[in-house]
């Protein structure tokens, strides 16, 4: 008897168009049923509770100012991130130094480090009077509050902008810029009138991603905010306090956050493309001066300074207490799992398991979706609509999404909390892999596929042997983003469950410590070590994946 061969079986299945349609339809159905509908439906189900908050004017004004703070900070920070990240991306791709490549990798660090660790690190760096920059002044340089929130959001959104713009600049055909130069344009004029307008889509994308990240972040923001409240902090405080009528306020704030995010997103998507950059006017003398090597060097140095002193060093500052913890024996305690560490390791295992499950499930349901969008398999119009819809979980503030999801799934009594946790992580991380893979597949020339088909490859084989190897880099990048996003996730986790993932646990450690260090159950070295281990593990995972994906695939 011939051995059953799974590849051949899938191959023969994939030859039938009905099977392909079933696969595509299932991926669409999963998307709607698990990812898109529940967060929207949850709020609709509790629509009537919203009346509560309208009677409570003090709660209402708190809610309004929290919502306002969320969007003001997100818009401001994203703008600054683009302004600071763009020259850095430029420097990395055009600087012409070898060491810039390692800088490119360093720029990813704030992205892979779970944001709570980042938050604690920034807190130490900026406002601990005994450590960091503040030790030079003897008192907190930046105390907890809105300024520190801005610094934090700037640091963790910065790598998104750099990552997107480096990619766009590498793809960009330099000939356009060269043509402008030969026509008499100074470098800055060429950049401004030719390169930037051509890269507009990438600029908009980087702005939106930075915006989304800032709107969603919860855990780290709670640590550094002090008395300051934005949307996610307000929601998490309401949830903890459970004052009477809090549910209406939760629904109200979540609804407003979701609605405004969607409006901003759609506005930017629609208007951004039509936005004309001012390219008609040219100032030859001034722009020539701006293009001089002196100004360029100054700009590059400024970019490096911003990167090191506002992003990298604050982000990695937690290494210092972690290092002390290693030397003074705290590490031994941690390794043996004594006291608080038992819970720590459990939370770490929970975080990584949920992350792995979310990554796996999202790969399975996301890959057909990416193919179907990139290749317009269910019609151009439908594919374009899906292309926009898959972004929604990305732009909705995750704590609002969590609130809505928990309301939705509570209707299913039998749902265990761990299931709820996985669902919410699935929802939040879904866009990362699909977006990354859609973009990559779109760039694979259909000729390759057609060549493979004419050589006798069946659809599944073609996907397995042509598309997947060529897009391997993006698949891994997408999977890493899903995984790190899941491990970082705090807001939605707080909203849906009492289970303690690593970031939730760390927020729980930090809060009493900040309130009163002497009575807090966990001391600063332990928190530092807790964050440090999380950072280290993230590094190891990234490194392993980099090694796996090195030099393979094109996109």
């Amino acid at each position: 008897m011939a051995r059953f061969n799974i590849t051949r079986f899938l191959d023969s299945l994939s030859s039938r168009s009905i099977v392909r349609y079933i696969v595509y339809s299932c991926s669409v159905a999963f998307f709607f049923a698990l990812i898109l509908i529940p967060p929207i439906l949850g709020i609709v189900l509790k629509w009537n509770t919203m009346a509560d908050i309208f009677g409570n004017s003090s709660l209402m004004s708190r809610a309004i100012s929290a919502i306002y703070a969320s969007f003001a900070i997100a818009l401001f920070v994203s703008f600054i991130d683009v302004v600071a990240g763009l020259p850095m991306a430029w420097f990395i791709t055009r600087g012409g130094f070898k060491w810039l490549k390692s800088l490119d990798t360093l720029a990813d660090i704030p992205f892979i480090v779970p944001t709570v660790a980042l938050g604690y690190s920034l807190l130490l760096f900026w406002s601990d009077p005994k450590q960091g920059i503040s030790s030079l002044f003897g008192s907190s340089l930046v105390s907890r509050g809105w300024l520190l929130v801005i610094l934090l959001h700037f640091a963790f959104s910065y790598p998104v902008v750099v990552r997107v713009m480096v990619g766009a600049l590498l793809d960009y055909k330099r000939e356009y810029e060269e043509a402008a130069r030969t026509l008499g344009a100074a470098p800055i004029t060429a950049d401004r009138t030719v390169t930037l307008p051509i890269l507009k889509t990438a600029l908009i994308a980087s702005f939106i991603l930075a915006l989304a990240r800032s709107l969603s972040e919860t855990g780290a923001t709670i640590m550094v905010a002090g008395a300051f409240e934005n949307g996610p902090i307000f929601i998490s405080k309401l949830k903890t306090a459970q004052e009477p009528g809090y549910e209406g306020a939760l629904v109200f704030v979540s609804f407003i956050l979701i609605a405004i995010s969607c409006i901003i997103f759609v506005t930017i998507m629609l208007l951004g493309q039509r936005l004309k950059m001012p390219i008609k006017k040219v100032w030859p003398v001034a722009e020539r001066k701006l293009s001089s090597s002196g100004v360029t060097n100054l700009r590059n140095s400024m970019s490096l300074l911003v990167f090191f002193f506002l992003v990298l060093i604050p982000s990695l500052f937690v290494a210092l207490p972690a290092f002390y913890a290693i030397t003074n024996g705290t590490l031994n305690q941690a390794v043996t799992g004594a006291g608080i560490w038992r819970e720590y390791w459990q939370s770490l295992i929970l975080s990584y398991s949920v992350g792995a499950i979310a990554t796996l499930l999202n790969t399975i349901i996301g890959l057909p979706m990416a193919v179907l969008i990139a290749r317009r398999r269910l019609g151009t119009a439908f594919s374009s609509i899906l292309d926009v819809l898959v972004n929604i979980p990305l732009i909705i503030p995750s704590i609002a999404l969590g609130i809505s999801l928990s309301i939705f799934w509570k209707n299913f009594q039998s749902m265990p909390e761990i299931g709820l946790l996985i669902f919410v992580h699935l929802s939040i991380t879904y866009p990362y892999l699909v977006r990354s893979m859609t973009a990559a597949i779109e760039r694979v020339n259909t000729d390759y596929e057609e060549a493979a088909r004419t050589l006798g490859g069946r659809p599944f084989t073609v996907f397995r042997t042509i598309i997947l190897p060529l897009t391997k880099y993006s698949l891994i990048a997408g999977a890493v983003m899903v995984f790190t996003r899941s491990v970082s996730e705090t807001g939605a986790t707080l909203a849906v469950t009492k289970l303690k993932t690593a970031p939730v646990l760390l927020v729980g450690w930090v809060k009493p410590f900040l309130a009163n260090p002497s009575t807090a159950p966990v001391n600063s070295l332990e928190i530092g070590l807790g964050c440090g281990i999380l950072v280290l593990f993230s590094f190891i995972i990234l490194l392993v994946l980099r090694l796996f994906s090195r030099g393979k695939g094109m996109y």
Partner: protein
């Protein structure tokens, strides 16, 4: 008066030497072509003249002005890219007036230039169109109009016809020459197509592996190739290996494989030296039957192709060498495959080269 002079110009990309010690003088109002197989360094050379690539060594002069460290925007050049590089976010008008605009000319002046250039390339009525809406030939003409709009007197063309269909390529190449001549420009044209270069250039430089092998008019390159690679790259050649068996004051006798003797007007190679005799296919005369005479070799027709203008024979000589003979199709009676023939050529019409150290095949290789 754009005159371009390159002195000992060298450019390396890592370990690869793209251009090695190039010396070149391009005259004012000349249509000059740089040709060679892909990867020979011709585009790098052009980009160095434009200032898009910095040479590692050497100097470049435009109009006797040392421009080596001057950025492209200040060199007073027009550059047409192989892919045209028309700005995708601007329409034809904005593309063509980009040069005057970044030089901050008055808007009236910019408009006058834009109008003039577009009328010149007969695309004025398409000024609202975006590049993506134009055909290849139109894009090429817009690219040309744009390159000239900045008022440059030196036009650099990087494979400007490479992306076009054969027929349009043919038409546009004469148009390119006409523009350069009418506007009294100096044109430097990079191409891998020797027929294109021959058809439109005043002079041509043949490059291979970063080195300029020979510079000359099309006639010079064709009639007196100084390098065996040039004899093969410009036009076509048959190569017969042998050694000089006798050298007199007037000529030399070369013994080919199989002891065949041919005479050539060559005195540069000493007796006993290993050489290659190159003969153009269109120089060879074919006659039926066995005929005697100077430089006559017997052979057998192995292949015949009708190519339109010409017919092409592949003939196995009696010593086993294979030669190609091209005759005008309508001038003579065609011979059949299998026919015994005599192939002959005048003694003054062959070139004799020293046998290349690396072997003939490697010396002629295009890659």
């Amino acid at each position: 008066m754009p005159e371009v002079r390159l002195v000992n110009v060298t450019k390396k990309f890592g370990k690869i030497v793209a251009v090695e010690n190039a010396n070149l003088q391009i005259h004012d109002r000349e249509y000059f072509s740089l040709i060679g197989p892909s990867g020979c360094g011709k585009t790098t050379l052009l980009r160095m003249i434009a200032g898009l690539v910095q040479p590692d060594e050497g100097e470049i002069y435009i109009d006797d002005r040392l421009v080596t460290s001057i950025p492209p925007e200040d060199r007073g050049i027009g550059f047409v890219f192989q892919t045209y590089a028309l700005f995708p976010h601007m329409n034809v008008w904005d593309n063509v007036t980009y040069g005057p605009r970044v030089k901050a000319l008055e808007s009236k002046e910019s408009e006058r230039i834009g109008r003039e250039m577009l009328e010149m390339v007969r695309l004025f009525e398409r000024l609202d169109a975006f590049p993506s809406e134009l055909s290849g030939g139109m894009m090429q003409r817009v690219a040309l109009a744009r390159a000239l709009s900045a008022g440059a007197k030196l036009l650099l063309l990087d494979e400007p016809l490479g992306a076009l269909d054969a027929k349009i390529r043919h038409e546009l190449r004469y148009e390119l020459r006409r523009f350069v001549k009418d506007l009294e420009l100096t044109g430097i044209h990079v191409t891998h197509d020797q027929a294109e270069a021959m058809a439109i250039s005043d002079r041509i430089a043949v490059m291979r592996k970063g080195k300029i092998l020979q510079v000359g008019t099309p006639q010079e390159l064709y009639m007196t190739p100084q390098h065996i690679f040039v004899a093969n790259f410009i036009g076509e050649s048959n190569f017969l290996e042998g050694y000089v068996s006798k050298l007199t004051e007037k000529e030399s006798t070369i013994e080919l494989r199989g002891g065949l003797l041919v005479r050539a007007l060559d005195k540069t190679h000493g007796e006993g030296e290993k050489v290659v005799v190159a003969i153009r296919p269109e120089i060879l005369v074919v006659e039926k039957g066995k005929k005697g005479g100077v430089n006559s070799i017997f052979g057998n027709i192995e292949g015949f192709r009708f190519e339109g203008t010409n017919v092409r024979y592949e003939i196995r000589l009696e010593n086993g060498d294979l030669v190609v003979v091209v005759r005008p199709a309508l001038m003579a009676e065609w011979l059949d495959v299998g026919e015994k023939v005599t192939v002959s050529f005048p003694i003054e019409k062959s070139f004799v080269f020293t046998y290349p150290e690396r072997g003939l095949k490697r010396e002629l290789a295009l890659e």
